[in-house]
């Protein structure tokens, strides 16, 4: 293996390539004598590549050799760009725009909190930032712990009920000061800020919680 020295400038030769020479085929770009002749001083350039004997003459096929076809879910836009049309609806593409996850996560300030259910042996995590209000959150909890149904009481109290045994669960949360509060007392945004974790407590045990704020 020899050390390649710096290549000589080939500006005029580069611009001398016309579109046909650069068309996508399996045939080597050095296939025509014109191009090969215009780069005589190339060290191990086309002479090397000519030996590869790739040329079957058959074109690669439609652009992409099926790559864009197969990956149509991943990068529909590359297919569109190849066809030189303006891109259609913007399907999200992996890693574009090129912003690191670290930065995305910081800006997202995702609020992941653990959710525990009295009597259930497992914990789940929810991203509070994914919801816009209490109803959405409780609906999500209901779906998550699928045994519950949401029951609305007339004074806006919300409880989750296990239809099997009728046990009522009250959604509670621990705030930044370590106090256990009833979910729904404070404005949603304040709740998202201060909530550290959520616990679906059996109603019977919820009597000692911080008293509800008076509605003004």
């Amino acid at each position: 293996m020899s050390v390649e020295t710096e290549r000589s400038s080939t500006e005029s030769e580069v611009s001398g390539l016309d579109y046909e020479e650069t068309a996508l085929t399996l045939r080597l770009p050095g296939g025509t004598s014109r191009v090969a002749g215009s780069e005589p001083d190339r060290k191990r350039g086309f002479s090397e590549t000519v030996e590869l004997g790739l040329g079957s003459g058959a074109p690669v096929g439609t652009r992409g050799v099926g790559s864009t076809d197969d990956q149509s879910d991943e990068s529909p836009e590359s297919q569109a760009s190849v066809a030189e049309k303006p891109p259609a609806p913007k399907a999200r593409v992996v890693g574009w725009p090129p912003v690191r996850s670290f930065r995305k996560n910081v800006m997202k300030s995702c609020k992941l909190v653990k959710v525990a259910v009295d009597g259930a042996p497992y914990l789940r995590k929810v991203d509070l930032e994914a919801y816009t209000g209490y109803h959405q959150l409780l609906t999500a909890l209901q779906e998550m712990f699928s045994c519950f149904t949401l029951r609305n009481y007339p004074d806006e109290e919300r409880k989750l009920v296990d239809p099997v045994n009728g046990t009522e669960y009250v959604p509670t949360y621990e705030d930044k000061e370590g106090d256990w509060m009833l979910v729904g007392d404070v404005p949603w945004k304040m709740f998202v800020e201060s909530c550290k974790r959520v616990r679906l407590m059996k109603s019977s045990e919820a009597v000692n919680l911080a008293p509800r704020a008076q509605h003004s």
Partner: protein, 622 residues
């Protein structure tokens, strides 16, 4: 920000050139082209030569630049040996380019190691998890060979707690650990480092991803020795786990040499004030969450914060500002005039909120900001920061169709006000060729030009033309340009210009650009100093790949994903270039065993080590 290491990129003005080192794989002792081979089985040189060698070693001690050292090592055997004896810093730009044992055999007195792993597109989730770049084989080799190792700097490596333990156990003089964009370790490993590296000066964790289950978090801050420490730099804003603040406060108080401190978001303003009081000598401060912990109606900590900043006479670099409450910004006014570096890129600020701060930052050289400040905010920057060298404008909403309030107008302002600009990274939704041309003319010192028009294939927003003309002006007028990232609607013409004029370009990033194979060929043939080429979603096929065969040994790597490559083309490359490792990467292990002809991801790089043995199932080495 990491000014000291300048992003661990070689895009600095000293013009480091990564030169293909002599081929040490064969004992071609008489092959003068490739330089001297290793002196295996040599008899010792005659006495007079030994004297000369000793003299040479003394001289070579002063040679620090990699490029100069590589050149010196190629002169003859004697120089090769002397250089190998006196090299103190080992730089490996691609951890798979050479095997650890070879590095360790050649260089026996290394004190500092810089090692890079995954390709940069791994940052954008294009490299599947588990691809490689394990630090383990390296740390084991170093541990056995380099008793005096003091510094390790890793970028995009996979580092485990066990590796960190080996560091702590193997190097009694260990002083500096810097991990950038690494993953695989946890607070457990940090605790080991803190506890056992008694001479630790620098612990910089920058944009790493830590593995930590909430209930397994270790309070590593408490594990530093109780005595006075020699800590100079402690950066851990990427460590998202909570920690014992009192322990940090004590640590800071007993670290009189501490100059750089960047905390994570668990530190709010009240706590920041306490830290600053313990360390008025800080030069670099990364705040945590820039808001008050207390609710309404409590004592306003603002006054104390002002005096805290007022007392910090040495501050030159500020960063952090997470979840910012802008009413606390005036607290930093006392230090603005001294700042050379300001990172607001996590602060959602409007132009009105930025203005009073930036107006005072006359000496700013580095500024990172979010596009929330808009073109108007950038105008204020341009009018206030005449000395600016580096600007980065990040998107508040990093999605393609977001509303970005910065555009060609902001870029124009910057170009007119910040004539000394050397490096720019600019995310936007709309751009014009005219603004880019203006920048090329107004800022001739540009070394790094990275423009990211977030919408794919977007043309000039006024003329509707491709962005070819803008990038042409950049490569023509910015004669020192070594790093370029392109975006927007680009035809092959743009690449023709880049190949024609971009003779100093070492790093080129291409995405969603070009028309045909010709585009890539222009670049490969024209950019004679090209080292790192990363391409995604562009219509370049096998012909263009093969056209680069004469040049791949002069490059560190080529990455191509979602292009038009096939196995046939890639195999040809592999067949023709034995010292290239050609990796075809799939996204997941498919059930079918037969080969898919289309190549979704290609990563090829020169290597003395041959095909690596730690390939996961989704990587095939041709």
């Amino acid at each position: 920000m990491r000014e000291e290491i300048s992003d661990m990129s070689e895009d600095d003005e000293t013009g480091e050139r990564a030169r293909w080192a002599p081929d040490l794989s064969k004992n071609r002792s008489d092959d003068s082209d490739s330089g001297p081979g290793p002196p295996i089985g040599d008899s010792p040189p005659p006495f007079s030569d030994q004297v000369l060698e000793n003299v040479l070693e003394n001289v070579l001690e002063f040679l620090t630049s990699r490029r100069d050292r590589n050149a010196a090592s190629a002169v003859c055997r004697s120089w090769y040996r002397a250089e190998a004896q006196t090299r103190r810093e080992l730089f490996i730009g691609n951890c798979y380019a050479v095997a650890p044992h070879r590095a360790v055999e050649r260089f026996q007195s290394i004190k500092s190691v810089v090692l890079k792993g995954k390709p940069r597109f791994a940052d954008f989730n294009l490299v599947p998890f588990g691809w490689g770049a394990q630090f383990e084989p390296w740390v084991k080799s170093f541990g056995a060979a380099y008793r005096h190792l003091e510094r390790i700097c890793l970028k995009r490596m996979s580092v485990t707690d066990k590796d960190l333990t080996i560091i702590a156990e193997s190097f009694p003089l260990f002083k500096d650990l810097t991990l950038i964009c690494c993953e695989g370790f946890s607070t457990l490993g940090l605790a080991v480092i803190a506890e056992r590296c008694r001479h630790l000066r620098v612990l910089d964790l920058i944009e790493d991803y830590l593995e930590d289950e909430d209930d397994e978090v270790v309070d590593w801050i408490s594990r530093f020795p109780e005595t006075t420490t020699s800590l100079e730099s402690l950066v851990f804003d990427c460590v998202t786990c909570p920690f014992n603040f009192d322990a940090l406060e004590c640590l800071v108080a007993r670290s009189p040499s501490l100059q750089r401190l960047r905390v994570n978001h668990h530190v709010a303003l009240e706590q920041l004030r306490r830290l600053m009081a313990s360390a008025p000598q800080l030069t670099h401060l990364g705040t945590g969450t820039f808001r008050s912990e207390v609710g309404f109606g409590e004592v306003d900590p603002n006054l104390d914060l002002v005096s805290a900043f007022g007392a910090s006479r040495s501050l030159v670099c500020l960063s952090g500002f997470r979840e910012i409450e802008p009413e606390f910004l005036p607290a930093i006014y006392p230090v603005c005039a001294n700042l050379t570096s300001l990172n607001f890129s996590f602060a959602n600020l409007t132009a009105e909120e930025l203005n009073p701060v930036i107006r005072q930052c006359h000496n700013l050289q580095t500024f990172w900001v979010l596009d929330s400040v808009g073109d108007e905010g950038l105008r204020a920057v341009a009018e206030s920061c005449q000395d600016l060298r580096e600007l980065r404008v990040f998107p508040l909403d990093p999605t393609e169709d977001s509303d970005s309030s910065v555009s060609d107008i902001g870029l124009q302002f910057i170009s007119e006000g910040c004539r000394k600009l050397r490096s720019i990274l600019y995310f936007c939704q709309r751009m014009t060729n005219a603004a880019v041309v203006a920048m090329s003319k107004n800022c001739p010192d540009l070394v790094v030009f990275r423009l990211c028009i977030m919408g794919r294939h977007l043309p000039d927003r006024i003329t509707g033309e491709p962005m070819d003309a803008g990038f042409r002006a950049i490569v023509m007028n910015c004669k020192k340009l070594t790093r370029l990232s392109v975006s927007g609607l680009l035809t092959d013409k743009a690449f023709e210009y880049i190949g024609c004029y971009g003779k100093l370009i070492r790093t080129l990033s291409v995405a969603f650009a070009g028309d045909s194979d010709g585009g890539l060929r222009y670049v490969l043939e024209g950019c004679t100093r090209l080292q790192k080429l990363e391409i995604r979603d562009s219509p370049f096929g096998d012909a263009s790949l093969i056209s680069g065969l004469p040049f791949y040994y002069n490059m560190r790597f080529l990455w191509m994903s979602s292009c038009n490559l096939s196995m046939r083309g890639c195999k040809e490359v592999a067949r023709n270039k034995p010292n290239l490792v050609v990796e075809v990467i799939r996204d997941a292990v498919e059930e079918e065993e037969e080969e898919i002809e289309a190549v979704e991801k290609l990563y090829l790089y020169r290597s003395l080590a041959g095909a690596r043995t730690d390939v996961p199932a989704f990587v095939k080495i041709l």
